[in-house]
Symmetry: C2
Subunit: 244 residues, 2 copies
Amino acid sequence: MFFSVFSPFDFFASFDQIVKIDMQFCGSSARKDKPELARSGTTKKVTRIQREKTEAILNAALDVFSKHGFRGSTIDMIATNAQLSKPNILYYFDSKETMHAQLLEHLLDTWLEPLEQISPEGDPVDEICGYVQRKLEMARDYPRESRLFANEILQGAPHIIDQLTGPLRTLTDSKALVIQRWIDDGKLAEVDPYHLIFSIWSTTQHYADFDVQVQAVLGDSANLRFEQAQAHLDMMFRAMLTRK
Amino acid sequence: MFFSVFSPFDFFASFDQIVKIDMQFCGSSARKDKPELARSGTTKKVTRIQREKTEAILNAALDVFSKHGFRGSTIDMIATNAQLSKPNILYYFDSKETMHAQLLEHLLDTWLEPLEQISPEGDPVDEICGYVQRKLEMARDYPRESRLFANEILQGAPHIIDQLTGPLRTLTDSKALVIQRWIDDGKLAEVDPYHLIFSIWSTTQHYADFDVQVQAVLGDSANLRFEQAQAHLDMMFRAMLTRK
DNA sequence: CATAATCTTTACCAACTGGTCAGAAAAATT
DNA sequence: AATTTTTCTGACCAGTTGGTAAAGATTATG
């Protein structure tokens, strides 16, 4: 059995599984009928080649998009990265947009997963610090995904604005409520739950999105940046949440 | 007298002044001789038109670049935004790169200014919290500059990597030293100075760079986001720095 | 193994985009 | 007012890029 090309751990297992499942002929489905692919309705089997190639292409696309942004990326770059020809890429994906949309679509789910894990049952401080740690691990292990996301948001989130005002907001609201309850119960120092969450997002993602800057500043000791960051952030959030 | 088109306050006065001064015929200077401009050597006077147009163009360029990134921006977009024709833009600036470089060149200075203001003489906690506040004000008042910078770093800082390993690192080192001294003197709780600075950068810039997300999550109360952020960040850093 | 289905490539196109150029228009200078 | 200098524009070009078409190669299937 082979696992994702991207996933050193199994964090993103969901990612390529999703790819495999609902991706079969993403692009060519509705818009125009490439006869060879996607007669919608019938359950068509996914060949080995399809699975491998779409996966390789998405992996290459993630590489390129996260490095150069959408407009800065060309299909040729993706093709080279995936060791395929440009038309071959376009055989599997209708367009550049399709690939990009495909990647973004499932990004937010992955993104939100660590937040979902926060449980009202656990110890408040540990729950939140655990979240910080999971988020930092994601920044370390999946910087490409983080940068792709950052790029999208920076441009005003044109493709995922609905997911932001929808699922993201809903989940954030619900977790903010949990945090607020903890505060009301005196288990946590008073903090604005939303801005607490923003602080967690920003400080952790910083180590992925602004890695060049971090490394430039830290110089030689940069290789320890994630261990240092973990200790620092744990201390910081703990101090804020337990202050008298 | 007229002030910068961009600067509601005078924070960035340095910016357009610099533009006016060392910008006279940035592009066309060395590379190829447009006879009309830039006979290097002689001190040529800057006409009113030159001043106004270059300023308008840089302002438009900042608008467009910060919104779409370098590759996502076209000279035509900048031209439209500046209400000029494309060739007219290229009369003042040699190339798209020149405009971009021009903007980036002075960005870091502005960026670092608030950090420079940290004084070893003042009260440690107030000095640092003051820095947080200044940085947050910059995020609020100059989001375009912040996004331009974020875009550049996200792409790996190809144009300003030298400034990162140079001036940025030098200044950060020196301020980290100041902070370390404070800690050694028992005036501040123990923190990693570098990661403290990273936390300040990330949390404050978040409100500029990820504004769409912040607004999506906060919904109606989003208009208060900067006041809330200020209170929250002040509390957070104060708690960390004064913890027992 | 023949045939159908899937996959891949070569050649190509149209739109876009960065940039040029020759001269027209407008300002400044005399 | 004449002329020189600066500013501006329309037409144009070459390279890039997203995407297509059709035929060739490969793989699966009866």
